[in-house]
């Protein structure tokens, strides 16, 4: 094949125009903005209901200081879930498969939570580095371990999202190729592979939604610790 399996993850450019900008602006175009009407059509009602429920869910355990992040996290969630779901369509490019994008989300937001924590309540934020009830001998070791785990958080956030989506897309491509190649040779096996592909697609739909949710949820948890 002239195309390798990793070409779908190359950031597309056309005549020098980076098309990733188009891909990134697609979620913004797809959602109608809230209207001045009291009663809306079904789409906008559902959209509003979803955003309300989601924001309620995420921000219930957060104290009032964390509620300032509501717009940011809700819009982030919508953005990620739309990008992920749109990427499942054929011949599309998923920006969230790019590590650069995910790290660009994860690092600043995580850093913001840490800085907020250190600035407003430094002792409480530093206290998270030592879990309660540790034996005295283990304290130095545990502090080092907790600091490492603190600094690995943005990496984990970014890489989790990237890896999940990339792996999913890759698997779909692979199994689709297998089904495609097997169709003239062994049709029954190809049918089985097609069934497998169908199940995998279902899984990928779930993964797309869950990964976006997990990203935002973890950020809200980091915020909860620090606010």
């Amino acid at each position: 094949m002239t195309l390798s399996f990793f070409d779908q993850f190359m950031s597309p450019t056309y005549l020098g125009i980076p098309l990733i900008a188009l891909a990134l602006s697609l979620p913004w175009i797809l959602y109608p903005k809230p209207t001045t009407r009291w009663l809306n059509n079904r789409l906008i009602t559902l959209q509003g209901w979803f955003i309300n429920r989601f924001t309620q869910q995420i921000f219930q355990p957060l104290s009032l200081g964390g509620h300032k992040w509501a717009t940011l996290l809700a819009s982030l969630m919508l953005f990620l879930i739309t990008l992920n779901m749109l990427g499942l369509l054929p011949y599309t490019f998923t920006p969230t498969t790019q590590l650069s994008l995910n790290m660009a989300f994860a690092v600043p937001l995580w850093l913001a939570t840490v800085i907020i924590g250190m600035r407003n309540q430094p002792t409480h934020a530093l206290g998270h580095l030592l879990p309660e009830g540790t034996p005295t001998l283990l304290i130095p070791v545990l502090i080092i371990i907790e600091t490492i785990s603190l600094f690995i958080r943005p990496l984990a956030l970014g890489v989790r999202l990237t890896a999940n989506l990339t792996a999913g897309h890759l698997l779909i491509q692979l199994i689709a190729t297998a089904a495609f190649v097997l169709l003239p040779l062994m049709p029954t096996v190809a049918i089985l592979t097609a069934v497998l592909l169908f199940l995998l697609t279902l899984l990928e739909v779930a993964v797309a939604m869950i990964q976006a949710y997990v990203f935002v949820l973890l950020l809200s948890l980091y915020l909860q610790e620090n606010v």
Partner: protein
């Protein structure tokens, strides 16, 4: 200054755009200054915001922009015609027309019905389907669309989407409708409760008015009661007074009777005493002798009667 205002009215209406952006405080004092001037001449409503005060630098702007507009040929005419006064048309005021309730009709989920209507006169019912099939076959045969592994992926995700929409579509739509219904129901309930409470208030008010009418009768009855009580009390007292007076008068009568009786007895006693004292012994002997002779006679008479 005011005469020139009419000449430049379209321009000044353009400038009312500028003036409406000025801060509120300025506008307030401007209206104060303008008050007396409005009595002199009829200023068009859109231009009331504008003040042509010699010290106001806008007046210079009026002349400048008006001349500029008149000098800029065809564009200037268009600009002058296009400008209009703000907030006088009914666009922002009218009730907003309602949105359509359902989206446009589609066939097979994504092809708009209008295409079928468009092609029906020329190609009949099967026209669009032929078009679709032809297009598809053309793209496949000319390898404009190449079948590769992505086709399978597309088929797979297409199957997922169609399955999802067919299975969960109606329930999701019903859910969205229910959300809207609840919203309307809440508002309707508020309205209904308000209306019923107001109707109840009207009923209560009518009842109170009816009660007030009856109050006069109540007062009359009470008045009668009180009058009766007073009358009864008065009569009782009159009785009492009469009785007391009678008692006193009876006492006086009894007193008089007593006096009379005492006098009478006293007189009788005195008369007896004097009579008894006046009887001499001679008279007493004579009376006794008389009595004896009388007795003898009587005895004889009775003896005679007894023997007869």
């Amino acid at each position: 200054m005011i005469a020139s205002l009419h000449d430049f009215c379209p321009a000044s209406s353009l400038l009312s755009v500028l003036t409406t952006m000025r801060p509120e405080g300025m506008r307030g004092e401007r209206r104060g200054r303008e008050g007396h001037r409005e009595a002199e001449t009829r200023v068009p409503r859109c231009c009331r915001n504008l003040v042509l005060h010699p010290s106001d630098m806008l007046s210079r702007l009026v002349f400048v922009s008006a001349s500029a507009l008149k000098s800029s040929g065809p564009i200037g005419a268009g600009v002058v015609h296009a400008s209009r006064c703000l907030h006088t048309s009914s666009q922002s005021l009218a009730p907003v027309p309602p949105l359509p309730e359902k989206g446009g009709k589609v066939r097979h989920g994504f092809i708009p019905e209008e295409l079928f209507q468009l092609l029906y006169p020329k190609t009949g019912v099967t026209g669009p389907y032929m078009l679709g099939a032809g297009l598809l076959l053309y793209m496949l045969s000319k390898e404009i669309y190449v079948i590769n592994h992505e086709t399978f992926a597309a088929a797979s995700i297409g199957a997922v989407i169609i399955y999802g929409v067919k299975k969960f579509g109606p329930s999701v739509a019903a859910f969205a409708d229910k959300l809207n219904e609840e919203k309307v129901a809440k508002a309707q309930e508020v309205k209904d409760v308000a209306m019923s409470s107001l109707a109840q208030a009207i009923e209560d008010e009518k009842k109170e008015q009816w009660r007030v009418e009856g109050r006069a009768m109540l007062f009359d009855a009470k008045r009668n009661n009180v009058a009766m009580l007073l009358e009864t009390n008065y009569r009782e007292r009159v009785h009492m007074v009469t009785n007391e007076v009678k008692r006193r008068l009876d006492y006086q009568i009894a007193l008089q009777d007593l006096n009379r009786r005492l006098e009478q007895e006293h007189m009788i006693n005195w008369v007896e005493k004097s009579v008894i004292s006046s009887i001499t012994p001679q008279q007493e002997k004579e009376s006794i002798a008389k009595c004896i002779t009388d007795l003898k006679v009587l005895a004889k008479a009775t003896q005679a009667k007894a023997t007869a």
